[in-house]
Symmetry: C2
Subunit: 295 residues, 2 copies
Amino acid sequence: MRSLDDALREAADAVGEALESLVPAPEGADGRLVEAMRYSLFAGGKRLRPFLVLSGADLFEVPRAWSVNTAAAIEMVHTYSLVHDDLPAMDDDDLRRGKPTCHIAFDEATAILVGDSLLTLAFEAVTTPAGHPDAAVRAEIACALARAAGADGMAGGQAIDLAAESRDLTLDEVITLQRLKTGALFGFACEAGAILAREDGTARAALRDYAACIGLAFQIADDLLDHEGTEADLGKAVGKDAAAGKATFVGLLGADEARRRAEALADDAIAALSAFDEKAAPLRAVARYIVERRH
Amino acid sequence: MRSLDDALREAADAVGEALESLVPAPEGADGRLVEAMRYSLFAGGKRLRPFLVLSGADLFEVPRAWSVNTAAAIEMVHTYSLVHDDLPAMDDDDLRRGKPTCHIAFDEATAILVGDSLLTLAFEAVTTPAGHPDAAVRAEIACALARAAGADGMAGGQAIDLAAESRDLTLDEVITLQRLKTGALFGFACEAGAILAREDGTARAALRDYAACIGLAFQIADDLLDHEGTEADLGKAVGKDAAAGKATFVGLLGADEARRRAEALADDAIAALSAFDEKAAPLRAVARYIVERRH
C-alpha cells in the first residue's frame, strides 16, 4: 500500500480542492467574511477528519465525487468549532497552528460569523444535489452530522468542558466529556462512509467501534502533547489545560499510564477492523499515527 | 376566515409544541446549555417566520405533521441569529423582548454555544425522517435553509451590517443589506411550503415574489418602530441604529415616505398572491399586519 503520509496528503489535496470550490476567494468589497472563513479553513490543518471520511468511503468503493463534500463539510464543522472555542469568552487562545487565531487576525464579531457561516455551509455542502446522487443519503448524512455536532455531541461537550473549569472531574466524567466534545465528530467521520454507501449492519457497527477507540485515543494523545510538547511543535499555547485546573487524562492517570492506554486503544481500533480487507489499511495506519503524532 | 390573531396563535402553539419536543427541559446536571437554549426559544417571540412556513404549506394542503419541523427549524435559526447578534462583540444588546439577553441571563460562552446548538439542531429537525416522509424534500429543505442562513444570506448580511457602522450606505446598499440580513430567511419561510409540497413553477415563483415584498416591508416597519416606538412597546432598546450612525430607511427616506413604501410593498405582496384562492387569506392578512404592527 501507499505510505500513510501519501494517503494523508492525497486526502488533504482532495478536500482542499473541494473547500476551494465551496468557499472561493471573494471578489467584491464585501469579501471580509469569506476572507476570514478561508483564513481559518486554509490554516494548515491536518485534515484528519476528512481523511477518515474518505478512507471509510473507500472501504465500500464509494466514488470520490460522492464522498468529498461530506469530507469538506466535516472539516468546516471542525474549523467552526476551533474558531468559536478560541474566542475570548471561551478558551481565549491567540495562537492556532502557529498563526493568530481568527478573532486576532480579524475581529471577534467576524470570528463569530465565520463559525456560524462555516457550520451553515457544511449543511449546504452535504445536502446539495452536487454532493451525492441519492437524496436519502444526503438527508441522512446531514442528520447524522447535526447530531454529532450539536448539544448532544460536540457543542454539548464544549459546554461541559467550560463548566468543568470550576470543579474537579473524575476519569469517567472526563471520558464522557471527551466522547461528546471530540468523539461524536470522530464517530460521524468514521460512519459517514457506510452511510454514503448505504451500508448498514455489521460493517457500519465495526466502524462505530473503531471510531470510539480512535476518538478517545486522539484525546489522550492530545493531552500528552499538551503535557510534553512545545509551543513550536504544536503551534499553540501548551500546558493551558493543566494551568486552568482542568482535569486531563495525563493529570488523572500519569503520563506513562495515559500513553499505555492510548496505545491499547489504537490496538482495539485496529482489531475492530478485522473483517475488512486491505482497503482498510489507511484506517489501520492512521489509528497508530493518532497516538504517535508529534503535533 | 379566522381572524389573523387566531391564526397566529394557532401557528405559535403548533410550533411551540414542536420546539418543546425538539428541545425538552433538561434533566441532568449538565442541563445549563439546554436551559439557555429554551430561555431564548421560549422568550415570547411572535413566531412570524414559522407562521409563514405553515401558512405557505397550507396553500398546498401539506399535512401539518410534515411542515411543523421546518417551522420549528426556522424559529431556531432566527433565535440563534438574535442570540449571536446580541453578543457584546456584535450589537451588544442587554434586552430582548423585555428580558435580559441570553449572554446577560447566562454568560457569553453559553450564549455562543446556544446559537451554535440551535443552528445545528435546526438542520437535524429538517432532516430527521420524523419530519417529512420524502427524503428528497428533507434534503432540499435543508439545502435551501442553509443557503438562506449562511454567508450568502443572513450571516453575510450581518457581516455587511457590522461593516456599515463605519461608513454611510446609500438606499440601494441598505436594500441589498436587508435582502440578505432579513430577506433571505423570509424568502425561505415563504418558499418552504412549496418545497414541502414538491410544487415548482408559478406557485413557487409567486411565493418568492410575495416574500421579497414582505421581507423589505418588515425591515422598513422595523426601522419605523425603532424611530417611533418606545422601549416598553418593543421590549428592547430603541433608537440605537440611528445613534450608531447606521443608515436606516427612515433616515434615508424620512418617516412618511418610509411608511408609504412599506404600505405599497404590502399591496405588492398581496398582489403576488392573486392566483391563490382563500387558502392564502392568512398570508394576505399577515402582509398588512407586518407594516401595521406596534412591536
